[in-house]
């Protein structure tokens, strides 16, 4: 599997980082994975990095800033917003109110975290298969610059 940019995973749970890292290792895409433990660190990366994410998987409930607050901050800045597609919530729960709130803020998906290695592998594959085919602003990036 060849990706054009990093998979950004924002999650405060170390165990979840470990599972997703192991899954990426198995899929041969470990080098693309960038894990952040909170929204601020991810935001800093999105602001300064010249890499364009292939996909952003963001937890909802996190200390400091929540996934929703992070999404709101991204939405408020045009450059950040364009760079942050696809933005997908990746959470341990999918309550109606949270899902509704997520789509109001414009997201490209809301998935439940797998509880096992196998479930996580399956979910991650479904997400990557879709976004490798699907065009988004970052899919026009070649060699670190945006094609016109």
């Amino acid at each position: 599997m060849t990706l054009f940019g990093p998979i950004i995973n924002i999650d405060d749970d170390e165990d979840d980082h470990e599972i997703i890292t192991a899954v990426c290792e198995k899929l041969g895409i470990r080098k693309y994975l960038k894990c952040f433990r909170d929204g601020e660190a991810a935001l800093e990366f999105l602001r300064v990095s010249n890499e364009y994410p292939s996909v952003i998987l963001c937890d909802v409930n996190m200390p400091k800033i929540t996934g929703f607050e992070l999404r709101k901050t991204i939405n408020a800045n045009n450059t950040l917003r364009e760079r942050s597609v696809p933005f997908i919530f990746y959470s341990t729960a999918a309550e109606y109110r949270e899902v509704q709130k997520a789509y109001r803020m414009t997201v490209q998906g809301f998935f439940l975290k797998g509880t096992t290695f196998e479930e996580t592998e399956r979910t991650l594959k479904v997400i990557l298969d879709y976004w490798l085919l699907c065009k988004h602003p970052n899919s026009f990036v070649k060699n670190g610059t945006v094609a016109k």
Partner: protein, 141 residues
């Protein structure tokens, strides 16, 4: 999105409609597939019924009301916007501006129609797999 709801395809090209129809028949999902040849016909159907689509695939270049204009009308209406998740563009070409504009109107995807049957089938399957697993507001109704 209701997982059992219909798949709505908005496509003015009869040949493309037929090919898609064939593929959906082959893939044999339980969802009904409803085709519209222009944006107004689709909009009428969505507004005049309380249909809860599983997914909407919309072409962009169409006579009368094109895909972007249709999306704008849906996006500007809160009730329609929630009911029409996921809304995917499914078209024959793309530049970065069109794609960026699509996401700024909250599209959940932008796909280039593959030319070969096998690739088209593969694309449809990946789209369905994603939305079967993904949560969206309307499935709680």
């Amino acid at each position: 999105m209701q997982k059992q709801g219909p798949i709505i395809v908005i496509e003015d090209d009869r040949d493309d409609q037929e090919i898609l129809d064939e593929i959906f028949k082959k893939l044999n999902y339980p969802n009904k597939v409803i085709f519209f040849s222009d944006g107004y016909a689709a909009l009428d159907y969505i507004t005049q019924t309380n249909v809860q689509p599983f997914l909407i695939l919309s072409d962009i270049n169409m006579p009368k009301l094109d895909g972007f204009e249709l999306r704008k009308k849906i996006h500007n209406n809160e009730e329609l916007r929630v009911r029409c998740i996921p809304y995917l563009f499914f078209t024959s070409g793309a530049d970065r501006k069109a794609v960026t504009d699509a996401y700024s109107m909250s599209a959940q995807g932008f796909f280039i129609k593959p030319g070969r049957m096998i690739d088209l089938e593969n694309t449809i399957r990946k789209i369905i797999d994603y939305w079967l697993e993904c949560y969206a507001p309307n499935q709680y109704n």
